[in-house]
């Protein structure tokens, strides 16, 4: 039994003061979350888009402000902006005008508002009524696009700037707070009240609400739906900019993208408390989260494991994770009043008959080309021969190429496996998962603990990396039994953050971050690790391909397309959803284990939420519904950038910017879902397809002429069916 012994037993009044201060500083932290969450709520309320790019837009606002404010500018390491044409040395380094506080603030607001309008006009308005997965991919793509562009333009280093709010520290009867706390709380409550009044009493506010409910109906009423959504994006983005500027001030002038992006989780949590629609609810929710976090981390947990777990640096994130899971699982009525819960999985795959035929044709034309023609005439045999050649070539890399390439290809294997884990879970089963790298991290740390600390041989450790990740993935999958679409995405995002900031940063793991070399006294360790990764990936791909032709994979796909019909056919949705999480987690765990052996040291920073989003974006380009998507992801997301990076001086993020842009285009151009890679490659998108969203309500309704032909065909079919059945009996 552990007994807590305080050095100094506080008096009753002292204890009360202590907890009062805990609550007050919780409120102060919560005000930040509230400020951040308000913009998320505003955009969701107006456009039904969960905006994962909110933080990135806010960061742009903060950078513009601090790069133009005349007080802050002289203190910056890099005051100028940097634009450069990729692959050239043509660059332009303009400076923003030096402006007084108000001028800089106005400039930041104008820039963020324009950014918001741009986002709406270029991307989001084409996605009205799109499946949840498309919206998440689009805003995740925006997050990557804006962040990587901004890092190239504004510079990637963290800066320390003077704070906007004069630093001031107050002590009112022992209760301590700062000027920043007061200003942020006042701004947040001001915005919450003003926006609530706006939505309730102004014509424009009511028009926005009407448009969000039904774009078609509001259009019939004469509301300019496009202008309304642009307005919402502009205002929401300005709110994000204000939040960014104030949060930098509150963090004693730390200006960096990472801190601002990491506020996505508390921001969404605050918004969740408002049911994603109530601004006052968002404000109160932000405060509640801040207070709960502070109470939890200030509590004197019994010395030992609990104290270690709950007072770690990432403990507030863990609390946010718990809060998100509890609220989403119970969905109290007072929060979720009138919130539409997705009926379907929110994942469209957009398979088309022409697409399937095109893929078939692509395979066959590959077949016919080149000297291998005769050998490959029978594709089933040819495919294996081709695969054997490819495998032999990949196996030969460590022997003939510089070690660098074993490392690059080893990471490509990691990319392919993570992508495959998403194909199984999102593409097949329709369960949105924003935490694939968290599962990979579990695998990686399993490897370090079992190999580096317990010194087990790799042949035992590698299978265990997959096996250990399975129960964790199943536990994370439990919310999927109650949640769909956006809510499930939110729950997995909370887990991704909890893993990144809390689980993987435990001090217990910090000293256990190395694996034993696979082959003792071998100079370059990446070669054996790469070969092992290749073998593991080969086995996993063959296994998943086998599985794709069984009732299990059909049950997965049935759940994705219509859960109720699947149930009516006798498929147990709970069991198969958890099975999909288990399989996906196991694959990601193996990927993490292989990566641990490849790099020999495991770093928490490699298994982040943003990294997971990057994979989501990549697999969407590569084709979410197809096993080959895994290989294409490795190619597009890793091998090609690795080839290009060395030459793209000055625009280091070029390949990632391109990838994010491609992903957004993919979800826009293939509105019926995320069609397969071949389909998109072989059949350039048809502008007519995009119009499908205009009547999102009766998606896929055929044109009149087609309808007539269809009716005639139906008639023939029915008569034929009756005859066929009758003759069967005769």
């Amino acid at each position: 039994m552990t007994k807590v012994t305080h050095v100094r037993q506080p008096t009753r009044g002292g204890r009360r003061l202590f907890w009062t201060n805990v609550v007050v500083s919780g409120l102060a932290a919560g005000a930040i979350y509230a400020l951040y969450g308000l913009g998320i709520t505003l955009i969701y309320k107006s456009t039904r888009v969960p905006n994962f790019a909110h933080g990135a837009i806010g960061a742009v606002g903060a950078y513009v402000f601090y790069k133009s404010w005349d007080v802050a500018r002289p203190k910056l390491h890099v005051a100028a902006l940097h634009f450069q044409l990729p692959f050239t040395h043509l660059s332009w380094n303009p400076r923003l005008p030096a402006l007084p506080l108000v001028g800089a603030l106005l400039l930041a607001l104008v820039v963020t508002a324009l950014l918001g309008v741009l986002v709406d006009r270029l991307f989001m308005r084409h996605l009205v009524g799109a499946p949840t997965i498309s919206l998440i991919v689009a805003t995740a793509g925006l997050l990557i696009l804006i962040t990587d562009l901004s890092i190239d333009i504004f510079n990637e280093f963290e800066e320390t700037v003077p704070t906007v709010v004069p630093q001031g520290f107050h002590n009112a009867g022992g209760i301590r707070f700062t000027n920043d706390d007061v200003v942020i709380a006042l701004v947040a409550i001001g915005i919450a009240i003003a926006a609530t009044l706006f939505f309730r009493y102004t014509n424009l506010g009511i028009a926005i609400r009407a448009t969000a409910d039904s774009r078609e109906t509001s259009r019939l009423l004469g509301i300019n739906a496009g202008a309304v959504s642009s307005f919402a994006w502009a205002v929401g983005s300005m709110m994000s900019g204000v939040a960014g500027i104030l949060i930098v001030s509150r963090l004693s002038g730390q200006l960096s993208f990472i801190t601002l992006l990491a506020l996505i989780l508390p921001g969404f949590t605050a918004s969740m408390f408002g049911g994603f629609t109530s601004l006052i609810g968002t404000f109160l929710g932000g405060l509640a989260l801040g207070v709960v976090q502070n109470l939890f981390t200030s509590y004197h947990w019994p010395r030992g494991t609990l104290s270690d777990l709950f007072s770690a640096a990432g403990a507030p994130t863990f609390v946010a994770f718990l809060v998100v899971i509890v609220v989403l699982m119970t969905r109290p009525k007072f929060i979720f009043k009138g919130v539409r819960v997705d009926e379907d999985s929110g994942v469209g795959i957009g398979r088309t008959t022409t697409g399937l035929q095109l893929e078939d044709r692509a395979r066959r034309s590959l077949d016919r080309q080149g000297a291998l023609h005769l050998m490959l005439a029978d594709w089933t045999v040819g495919r294996w021969i081709l695969a054997a050649f490819a495998l032999a070539a990949l196996m030969a890399v460590p022997v003939y190429a510089v070690p660098y390439w074993s490392g690059v290809l080893g990471d490509a294997v990691f990319f392919a496996l993570i992508a495959l884990s998403l194909v199984v879970l999102i593409g097949w089963t329709g369960q949105i998962n924003l935490a694939p790298l968290a599962f990979a991290g579990v695998g990686a740390w399993t490897a370090t603990v079992l190999s580096g600390t317990a010194h087990w041989p790799f042949a035992v450790v590698i299978p265990l990396t997959g096996l250990v990740a399975i129960p964790i993935a199943v536990v994370v999958g439990i919310p999927a039994l109650r949640l769909r679409g956006f809510f499930l995405a939110l729950a997995t995002m909370a887990f991704a953050f909890a893993a990144e900031q809390w689980l993987f940063t435990q001090s217990w793991l910090a000293s256990r971050n190395k694996v034993d070399p696979m082959v003792p006294n071998h100079g370059d360790l990446s070669q054996p690790a790469y070969l092992m990764g290749l073998v593991v990936a080969g086995c996993v791909f063959v296994g998943v391909r086998n599985l794709s032709r069984t009732r299990v994979s059909r049950a997965f796909r049935a759940i994705r397309d219509s859960e109720n019909t699947a149930i009516a056919m006798g498929i147990n949705p709970m069991r198969y959803k958890l099975l999909a999480f288990a399989l996906s987690g196991g694959i990601a765990g193996l990927a993490g284990g292989c990566a641990a052996y490849l790099h020999t040291t495991v770093v928490a920073g490699n298994f982040t939420f943003i990294g997971s989003l990057n994979f989501l974006v990549l697999i969407v380009i590569a084709g979410l519904g197809f096993i080959a998507g895994g290989v294409i992801t490795a190619l597009v997301g890793w091998i090609i950038p690795a080839l290009l990076l060395g030459h793209a001086a000055g625009v280091n993020n070029g390949p990632y910017i391109l990838v994010a842009f491609l992903a957004i285009r993919t979800v826009i151009d293939y509105p019926n879902g995320l069609a397969g890679f071949w389909t998109r490659l072989l059949r350039p998108f048809d502008a007519g397809e995009r119009v499908a969203w205009a009547s999102a309500g009766d998606e896929g309704a055929p044109a009149p002429a087609a309808a007539v032909a269809e009716a005639e065909a139906d008639e023939r079919d029915f008569e034929a069916a009756v005859q066929s059945l009758e003759s069967a009996h005769a």
């Binding site: 149930i567 005859q723 066929s724």
Partner: protein
């Protein structure tokens, strides 16, 4: 209530908030019968189907299939106990091909648990390959028998409503249920096809030897093929009897048409 009935609903009640959707509904069905369920919009027909197939849990009442109460069985289990149903708007899997949809419907016929299926599938065991070959053959036969061979490799989202309906009937054949619930099989298809639907459903019954419970608004169709009719109104059983008796029943006529016409006129 005949205790020995093949399928019986006894005292089923369900409320949505303040609305009494089903109020003490009770009737029974004999093995091999086709029982039509009629009633004006909002009478609770589809809700009753949802209760029978397990998507809603009734506040009270029992659903007895061969004397076994289904109320506490989860929805997917009821399919294993021999229940098959279709939905009002043919809800098939939009991204799957016709033949794959029919294969999915064979789920119940394929032995083995989910985890065992996963492991066998990953390893590509001889058993899983053989099971797959069998199910493919079966699905292709069914697709052919319903005259859908031309559509076998087409994706459901591109099919016309009529073809979707036929695919749906193929899935019912694939499931081989003992009790089939069909929710408005004629909805969304044209008049001429509705006329073909009657014989088709009769063929289906002969094929499966199953019992049918059918919701339908098309009076000639339902009166033509049903052995008995149950008329619902405002969540209650209004009348029960042969098609002829129902057509002559004043309460039903009143509920349906406000008394202005007779059902014979509508049917004719």
């Amino acid at each position: 209530m005949p205790e020995g009935a093949y399928f019986a609903i006894t005292g089923v009640s369900l409320r949505f908030g303040g609305l009494q959707v089903l109020d003490d509904v009770a009737f029974s069905v004999e093995r091999g019968e086709i029982v039509g369920l009629i009633g004006p919009n909002g009478a609770g027909k589809t809700t009753l189907f949802d209760v029978v197939s397990g998507f809603h849990k009734p506040r009270q009442g029992r659903i007895l299939l061969e004397g076994v109460d289904l109320v506490d069985e989860p929805a997917y289990r009821r399919a294993w106990l021999g229940l098959g149903r279709t939905f009002q708007t043919a809800r098939l899997f939009p991204n799957e091909t016709v033949v794959d949809i029919v294969k999915t419907a064979c789920h119940r016929r394929m032995a083995g648990g989910a985890v065992r299926g996963l492991l066998a599938g990953l390893l590509g065991t001889a058993g899983s390959v053989k099971a797959e070959r069998e199910v493919t053959e079966r699905a292709e036969t069914l697709v052919e028998r319903l005259g859908l061979a031309d559509y076998a490799n087409k994706v459901a989202s591109e099919l016309s409503y009529g073809t979707l309906r036929l695919t749906e009937l193929a899935t019912i054949l694939a499931m081989e249920p003992e009790l089939v619930l069909l929710d408005e099989p004629s909805s969304g298809i044209a008049q001429r096809e509705t006329e073909a639907l009657g014989p088709l459903l009769l063929e289906l019954r002969r094929d499966l030897g199953a019992t049918f419970l059918l919701i339908e608004h098309d009076m000639p169709l339902i009166m033509g093929i049903s052995d008995r009719i149950v008329a619902l109104a405002a969540g209650q059983v209004l009348a029960e009897g042969s098609p002829a008796e129902i057509q002559a029943n004043d309460d039903v006529v009143e509920a349906y048409l406000g008394g202005a016409f007779t059902l014979e006129e509508v049917v004719a």
